[in-house]
């Protein structure tokens, strides 16, 4: 049974107000996280998964801004906090984050310990021997030798550095830890062992975890629930087991099919043609329709609602109970997809016009 709700996100929208227009990086994100539970957030680059993480910490950098919605973190409304309040009250204490490429986060001129005690010093005023004792305890918890406290970052391997960062994120006993691509830079063997440790820590410390990655195969092992994101939307949310076994949304289906199976000889890998859309001017209707192999006429016009299908929330017209739409399903069309449309989509994305004809490019020197 899930414990109490530690995080309740409702209709959260975060946009970036750039000179090209408003980038709708995150729209209408709604989900709950319970104590001791883990959520995996997956999607391609630029789908808004990191924006979601930064929003949860109330740390969206300008020109980004949380436009609407609420984040209830154990009774605290995160979106109402000022930068100073957020720093004092929630970050590290309630929710902490292990960033992508965390290994490069440490400064080479101080020892690991010097950097590790900082959260203790500033948040709890714990210094000296006491701080050292706590740090060493956490280092051991992540399977490191406590002697690492006195070493310099360059003396550690990538895996060890990653473990130090994980230990630091746990120091103030937060309820939630967010891992943004925690193992992408690591080798498979090290990755598997760190993932093992995270599974164990979650049980031992009873903390909730949020994993953000583009690699669904990692999430299958560590998350209870999965949120699949596409172009700023959570398109499917539900139990990881159900989603892997029976993906509902066509996007999820393709993402799972793209994972190569090491046990079988396969001739071709599945992939999703095209590139994710430009979020200044996302496609009309369903944002996935230009790349969707099951797209229908209605998908071009109408934004799908979120339907509850066997306990999984899916944002797709395929599951509509509206008869007009259901009928339309039969008239579904083959999505005419080729690189030309992708190229056009991408051009729009960057707001770049085709290079003007008439301007002759400089010939190469021979």
């Amino acid at each position: 049974m899930p414990g109490e709700t530690v995080l309740d996100v409702e209709e959260l929208c975060t946009h970036y107000l750039t000179s090209d227009g408003e980038v709708m990086a995150l729209d209408d994100a709604t989900f709950k996280l319970h104590r001791g539970e883990s959520i995996g957030i997956a999607g391609e680059s630029g789908c808004g998964k990191s924006t979601l993480a930064f929003s949860l910490l109330n740390q969206v950098q300008p020109p980004g801004e949380i436009m609407s919605g609420s984040i209830d973190l154990d009774g605290i409304e995160v979106t109402d906090l000022s930068e100073k309040q957020a720093r004092r009250e929630i970050r590290w204490k309630k929710i902490s984050m292990v960033f992508q490429g965390a290994m490069e986060i440490m400064t080479p001129v101080y020892t690991v310990g010097h950097q590790m005690v900082e959260p203790l010093k500033y948040h709890k005023d714990i210094k000296g021997k006491e701080a050292r004792r706590i740090c060493e305890r956490y280092l051991e918890l992540v399977n490191l030798d406590s002697g690492i406290f006195d070493r310099y970052p360059h003396e550690l391997s990538g895996g060890q550095k990653q473990r130090v960062i994980i230990a630091t994120s746990l120091l103030l006993e937060p309820d939630i830890v967010i891992f943004d691509e925690p193992t992408t830079a690591l080798d498979v063997v090290v990755e598997a062992r760190i993932m093992n440790d995270l599974k164990r820590l979650r049980r031992e410390l009873d903390i909730s975890m949020i994993f953000i990655t583009h690699d669904l195969s990692i999430l299958a092992e560590v998350s209870d629930n999965l949120a699949i994101m596409y172009a700023g939307w959570i398109v499917e949310f539900g139990s990881a087991f159900d989603i892997y076994k029976d993906p509902k949304h066509p996007y999820t289906e393709k993402l799972i099919a793209a994972i190569p199976d090491i046990r079988k000889d396969i001739d071709r890998l599945e992939f999703i043609p095209g590139v994710p859309p430009n979020l200044v001017n996302p496609p009309s209707g369903c944002r996935f329709h230009p790349r969707c192999h099951k797209a229908m006429e209605v998908c071009k016009e109408l934004e799908p609602e979120v339907y509850n299908v066997d306990g999984v929330k899916v944002k797709c017209h395929l599951f509509s109970e509206d008869e007009d739409i259901a009928e339309d399903e039969e008239a579904s069309y083959e999505t005419a997809y080729d690189d030309e449309t992708a190229a056009e989509a991408y051009e729009g994305e960057l707001g770049t016009e085709e290079v003007e004809d008439g301007i002759e490019e400089e010939p190469m020197e021979e």
Partner: protein, 342 residues
Amino acid sequence: MPEPLLKARNLTKHFEITQGFLQKLKGQEKQIVKAVDDIDFDIYWKRNFSVVGESGCGKTTVGKLIMRLLDSTDGSIYMKGKDITELSGKEELKAYRRQTQIIYQDPFSALDPRHRIRQVLEEPLLIHDVGDTREERTDMVHEALEEVRLTPPEKFLRRYPHMLSGGQKQRVSLARAIILDPDFIVADEPVSMLDVSVRAEVLNLMKDLIDEEDITYFYITHDISTTRFFTDYIGVMYLGDLVEKGRVGDVLDKPLHPYTQALLVAVPEPDPDRGRGVKDVPITGEIPSGTNIPDACRFHPRCPHAKKICSKKVPEEREIEDEHYAKCHFAGEIEFDMDVAK
């Protein structure tokens, strides 16, 4: 068995670490990194060969040796029967590199940001003096773009690399590699920086080109899960040595060396019926430094099956099954079931 396209024999590359003034003064012994240490392998025509291993195992060094971007310390590489480690002089190397091309890991930095795609692709033609007129070259550039499915080519010619997505950039790198019609391509982690969905697209394309363009790939990767789809043979590298090699299906289904077994257990399991629990990753510690390679079997300090002999005697390479080699004293005797281990 046909004659291999590429044959590496006793291939070795050692790097000397530069000493500081004081170290020289003290007469300290020079440290040597054994990046590639006496390895043999054969690559057959249109039968891709992949090399897997952790960072620092020397797999990229092998790729660079094949390209002659590095000179080997010892051993030879025969390409179509000719020893390429003995090529000397600009002309010979230039001719060799026309047949052998490389694709790098990072498509974002492999392309010059100030060159349009046309210039990127035309450059190899100019260097190798292919195509007499600008029109002729333009046709070749068009053709290359079409081969990597960047169509219509006119749309891409005038773009700069930053106007392309990661997958498209990697396809431009691929077009640049095939434009000179090579026989052999070294692909160094070509898809590891791409999203999973795009990865599949680029690998499919590279596979199509095997037959369309008669290309053989040397595929360097740390991601063992893509090797089965893309290659026919696989070599597993550990600390500069090929500890196991064979047909990819044989090696992945019946790994003989404990290191290969550990790599396979560590692959993330997408099926929630299997890998939900804590995995039993059999090896501990991290890959040691190349300056300090353990004696005898170089894997023994991390090996779960290590016995006395492993720290005493260097294991010979043995052919356990047809075309399936391993360097381990106990190869063939260790029970392994991937599903149990997970």
